[in-house]
Symmetry: C2
Subunit: 330 residues, 2 copies
């Protein structure tokens, strides 16, 4: 019934060497004579031997497994890109999709769950303090995706405020003076920094910030936020919207009210989703390259795991303005 997999010792017996020699072969240790190595490899092949990872992990205390802890959906693309980067660098990649209550427990148990390193998706109010996080992860290396610019946290981020500046300045350059906003959640770093960038840019230009409504990064949230903006009777000729998804929803609300984009109102989003270029009108937006973001995060994390001397730093990427048809001069 149970054929039982061959072990290192089975291979050793069959090849007429000690188990240690077999261990050396599977670990590419230099001190093995070429002909011995070949013979052992031959036996491994015919017996179909595979080293048992549990036993290896138990002994070495290294699992070559990374885990991303995500308390909500919304990082689909970067998820795949990180998995791919990790796999290519010889690491497994585990997703913990949790509710926010489970966050501390997930971090706390990571070490005994044989995780070598963590990718954290920011979760206010947990992610402000490096020391606190270090304690929660029991010293396990981690990299956070997104954080305040200048935070003393191992993190990979896009300079969100800079992105918001690009977006807002673009509108100002087009002659807009009444510039509203649908922000992301202000408890979220990205949402907050974008909001701040919008506000600061207007202020720098001596323009009174238009009304701002807080959204939740979802399409439906964008729709609701725009409804709210319209119902409030606020006047504006342009809107900066916290991400492209919300921009889609918001434009539905505008259309329903007979307001044309970009004729009556200009719209800028964030992210540059694949759909954004094909939207009607094609969405002007701030592009972030999630593949690069994911890869940098994984590489940074692995360097922390493999070399504890790696200094804590921030990797900051600069977003890019993509001009399309949803913005126009007044």
């Amino acid at each position: 019934m149970k054929p039982k997999r061959p072990t290192l010792r089975d291979v050793a017996r069959e090849a007429g060497v000690s188990y240690q020699t077999v261990s050396r072969v599977i670990n590419d240790n230099a001190h093995v004579a070429p002909e011995t190595r070949d013979r052992v490899l031959q036996v491994i092949e015919t017996l179909g031997f595979r080293p048992n990872r549990a036993a290896q992990i138990l002994q070495t205390e290294r699992s070559h497994t990374l885990e991303v802890v995500m308390p909500y959906f919304g990082f689909n693309r970067v998820l795949y890109d990180m998995a791919r980067a990790a796999n290519q660098l010889g690491y497994h990649f585990v997703i913990s999709a949790i509710s926010s209550e489970e966050f501390p427990k997930t971090l706390l148990t990571a070490r005994s769950r044989l995780i070598d390193g963590l990718v954290l998706i920011p979760m206010i109010p947990f992610n402000d303090n490096y020391d606190e996080l270090i304690e929660m992860t029991d010293g396990l290396p981690f990299v956070q995706i997104g954080a305040k610019l200048g935070a003393n946290l191992p993190s990979v981020i896009y300079d969100q405020a800079r992105g918001a500046r690009l977006a807002t300045q673009h509108l100002i350059d087009l002659g807009h003076r009444k510039i509203a906003e649908i922000s992301g959640p202000l408890l979220n770093y990205d949402g907050c920094d974008r909001h701040e960038g919008w506000r600061a840019t207007l202020e720098d230009n001596g323009i009174e910030p238009g009304p701002s409504v807080e959204g939740d990064f979802t399409i439906d949230g964008g729709y609701a936020a725009m409804r709210q903006l319209l119902d409030s009777g606020a006047e504006f000729t342009a809107v900066v919207i916290g991400n492209d998804s919300m921009a889609f929803g918001a434009q539905t609300a505008l259309r329903e009210s007979g307001i044309r984009v970009p004729d009556d109102v200009s719209v800028v989003g964030f992210d540059d989703l694949p759909e954004s270029a094909h939207f009607v009108p094609a969405l002007t937006t701030i592009r972030q390259d999630f593949t690069v973001l994911g890869r940098l995060a994984i590489e940074y994390l692995i360097s922390m795991i493999e070399n504890p001397e790696t200094p804590v730093h921030q990797r900051v990427l600069l977003p890019k303005l993509i001009k399309r048809e949803s913005t126009r001069a007044v």
Copy 2:
């Protein structure tokens, strides 16, 4: 430097019991006196003891880890939903994002990598034969997402042909007689079945199938396919498109050629992405609930793991026509 985590034996010594008793406590074994259990739990708490999973796995040969093997990106949402379902049922969830060449090796090594079960994303030409797959996975339980209807494979699927029938019949009912298609990859089960459903429905209604172009499920692919259709000079008043992403791209191509949707051409997609309802015009499409799909797949897989008697079967979901503004009577 290295504080060394407490082990089961440390707890046992501290609590004045044997290590076996501690083991019983952490495994909720019935045969432990309540006061002993409380004392042990107390010590576990103060010592901060966590069982070492590697040791547990080594002994039990069960890791409580599921793995999804995906050779390409495109299942973002179902990924998150599966991870969540798995976590809720006490399983870890690993993503292997691989190139298709690595597919056989990934399956072969799954067992020694301590995986309890696999979720497979169909990969022609590997996924036709149950026996072959069983051999590749070394008897490890697996569930495939997507397969031919009626295939003798543990699988969870939407009845794609049925979906295509709904879409095509809807167009026929609106009076369309020249119905083109942009199919998904015909080497893909979903793509192929949808294509077949489109063809069969037209045939059943005595209508000559319009031209069909093969796409690749991406937005850009949809754009290119529609370009090709238009350049060929084919006449059609409606198109069935293999998924919503391609429909987005295709509509850009139509717009560029001055063809209006739905006035000149009606369009039906597949999937009902969150964006689809907000597209201009709002996309008529065939809805599939990926959350349900993911949950069914994970539950099925776990039932196979925990009860080997689970019969091989297919779980078939029925998609739903969502009528919106991209289709209109001729």
